[in-house]
Amino acid sequence: MNKYLPEKENILEILHLVQNANPKNFLSKEDLAEVANYLHLPYNQVYSVASFYSMFSLKPRGKFVIKVCQSPHCVVNGSDNLLDFLKKRVKKNPEISLEECQCLGVCGNSPVVLVNDKIYGDMDKEKLEKLLKNLEGGKNVL
């Protein structure tokens, strides 16, 4: 955290940092208390800010976070169906979390799926199935 001055304007950067350092890929109560303390801000204010932004999770997440783009362009190319497919498919695995996301700007390869920082374009059910198998094996590759 010391990378940033203890000023309110640095809260998003600090939250990003703290979330990335959390092994469960989320912001815990302890994390937010620490940030509040560092920034001299009320705890509930830090919570309120963190809960506003979709890149922050306040619940533990798996090692892999799959985000499926649900922007119109990807929906036209079937990403809504992919999401439905994934919802059924990843339910049981605690290491894989599923989220929706908005346009990642990789529309040329639509429909797009993001796993942690890695973008996978032109997705279909077969590719997703293969990707999931790899993720279940601990590898973020297709």
């Binding site: 109560k29 937010l32 009320p42 705890y43 509930n44 204010q45 919570y47 809960s51 506003f52």
Partner: protein, 582 residues
């Protein structure tokens, strides 16, 4: 400058918003989230008006009036828009009018009625959330919340308690504590200001009417009641009486008709508090104890200092609040005098306060060997009981309180207003230190609604040529308290004695007072208490004969061993996240 509203030319002051100008001139602009005590948020959008030449509609609550503006506040078009908007708001509101605490007072209900909104054609779309009723003081029903933002403003900006916040965003957003914990498990100090400002009953007190009614019907129980000073200052408003007058006699009469066995008065305990706290002050000054001494009457404040300023805990008076002193005396002194088994006593208090419910449940508040105070009713609950029994309050006779713990002085009365405890303490401390009564008992500098008040008083010590200069300060509203404490902590200010009340205006502005009241109501209630004080024959606590009696027959003297056992307490630091003690 001049603006035109609905074709009528109106003078406006620079810096005023359109809604302020309109209200000042008797033009009603429907609004929902707007409250004149608070910084407007513009959240609801109901107050949109048409301004010539300004294109889209503007919110009257946040748009500043400008010279030459021509504003239309009502038209077929505006009505249609407001109706459609209110219909939407209604769809996201859990309509529970008959069982709702705010029924008849609800600002949404009033608007829906006024705007003649029909029964919704669509199913409600709010997401059902569990009601939080774990706090001893406050119940939060998010399903009714209309996102006006008032509670957030009061909790964070005015009180600086930082319990409530907005979680998430959009339709999924809700007013909650951090991580959606119960208020009982949060830094909430139970001040209840959120309940006073909530327009729709999403926040209310935790009712104990049922428990009290059950006790009243139980022939084996002696139900004893005390009423805080500020209660009598607000009742008149509710029953069509002159709001500038207190209603002490009618209040006693109503309680008697409700079936309470003994009607006493918290004012008596306020006088008792002054004896103890005044003596504590003198002792600390004389013996070099921790100064400034800070009052401890306000349970919201006490939890606040335990949570956010634990370094000041040695400064907080060890005196219990009047409610708890009273409770301890009822089950000891009163029980002894009347030879009643304290287990048969049910001790009830009527308070302008929601935090008093929490205070009564603090584990240490059992010095009598029993719960010192069993049930706490807010003014709102009391009013409900009066109305529920169809008591014609307005035409009740003026009655007296019962003897032993019912007599009080003007000093006890003014406890209900900000600065009142300070003024009462000054009157008695002056007499105790100088051996003479203060020439003018009115200590004007500590009265009134300004957030932080200061005064300095020269006290000639008896049998000595030394004149002691006592510096005092008064803060009401926890945001002001915070500011004052920070100044003291940083060495910018130095005092002997500080009065702090959690609620703006003091107890007359308490979280248990009628819904919909504003700062002007609070100021007026305070004035009515000062008026009663002025009319009291006795105006200093140490002159109360019943106080003399309790010391003679039971307590001995202030700060005695017995006093300490029953009337004093101690404090413990709380976790800032959970509001819990170890």
């Amino acid at each position: 400058m001049q603006i035109t509203i609905n074709g009528k030319k109106i003078e406006a002051k620079s810096g005023q918003t359109i809604i302020e100008v309109a209200r000042e001139n008797g033009v009603y602009i429907p609004s929902l989230c707007y409250h004149k005590d608070l910084v407007p948020t513009g959240n609801c959008g109901v107050c949109v008006v048409k301004i010539d030449g300004m294109g889209p509609l503007k919110r009257a609550c946040v748009t500043p009036a400008e010279d030459g503006m021509s504003i239309t506040t009502d038209s077929v078009e505006l009505r249609k828009i407001r109706r459609e908007l209110l219909s939407l708001i209604l769809l996201a509101h859990d309509v529970k009018c008959p069982t709702c605490d705010q029924n008849g007072k609800c600002e949404l209900q009033e608007l829906i009625n006024y705007m003649d909104i029909p029964e919704p054609k669509y199913e409600p779309i709010f997401k059902k959330t569990a009601i939080d009723n774990f706090s001893p003081s406050i119940v939060k029903d998010t399903n009714k919340c209309i996102h006006c933002g008032r509670c957030i403003a009061v909790c964070n900006d005015i009180q600086e308690v930082h319990a409530l916040c907005v979680e998430g965003r959009g339709f999924e957003s809700k007013v909650t504590t951090a991580f959606g914990e119960s208020l009982a498990n949060s830094p909430c100090v139970n001040c209840g200001q959120c309940t006073v400002y909530c327009p729709v009953g999403a926040l209310k007190e935790k009712s104990q009417i049922e428990e009290v009614q059950t006790a009243l019907f139980d022939p084996s129980k002696i139900v004893v009641v005390q009423e805080a000073p500020a209660v009598r200052a607000a009742l008149g408003e509710e029953f069509g009486l002159d709001p500038k007058e207190v209603t002490t006699g009618k209040m006693y009469a109503a309680l008697r008709r409700l079936g309470f066995d003994k009607i006493f008065d918290t004012n008596f305990a306020a006088d008792l508090t002054i004896m103890e706290e005044g003596s504590e002050l003198i002792q600390r000054v004389k013996e070099g104890g921790t100064l400034p001494l800070i009052t401890s009457c306000s349970p919201g404040w006490v939890k606040f200092v335990e949570t956010y300023f634990p370094e000041f805990l040695p400064n907080v008076s060890s005196c219990k609040s009047p409610q708890q002193m009273f409770g301890a005396m009822v089950k000891t002194y009163f029980a002894k005098q009347e030879t009643i088994d304290p287990k048969d006593i049910v001790s009830v208090s009527v308070m302008p306060c929601t935090a008093k419910k929490f205070e009564a449940q603090r584990p240490e508040m059992n010095s009598s060997g029993y719960r010192d105070v069993d049930y706490v009713l807010t003014v709102r609950e009391f009013i409900k009981m009066i109305k529920g029994a169809k008591i014609d309050f307005k035409n009740l006779p003026e009655e007296q309180a019962d003897q032993l713990m019912g007599q009080y002085t003007g000093a006890g009365t003014i406890f209900g207003a900000t600065g009142g405890v300070m003024e009462a303490a000054i009157r008695t401390a002056y007499a105790l230190l100088s051996g003479k009564e203060l020439a003018n008992l009115d200590v004007i500098p500590v009265r009134g609604m300004s957030g932080i008040k200061e005064a300095s008083l020269d006290i000639p010590l008896k049998d000595s040529s030394v004149v002691l200069t006592v510096n005092v300060a008064v803060a009401h509203g926890l945001g002001n308290a915070k500011k004052l404490l920070e100044d003291v902590r940083d060495g910018k200010k130095s005092y002997h004695f500080i009065e702090i009340m959690a609620c703006p205006g003091g107890c007359v502005g308490g979280g248990g007072q009628p819904y919909g009241s504003d700062l002007a109501d609070r100021a007026r209630r305070g004035e009515s208490l000062y008026k009663e004080d002025k009319n009291c024959e006795l105006r200093t606590s140490h002159t109360n004969p019943m106080i003399k009696k309790i010391y003679a027959e039971f307590l001995g003297e202030p700060l005695s061993h017995t006093s300490h056992k029953y009337l004093h307490t101690d404090y413990k630091e709380r976790d800032q996240l959970t509001g819990k003690q170890d």
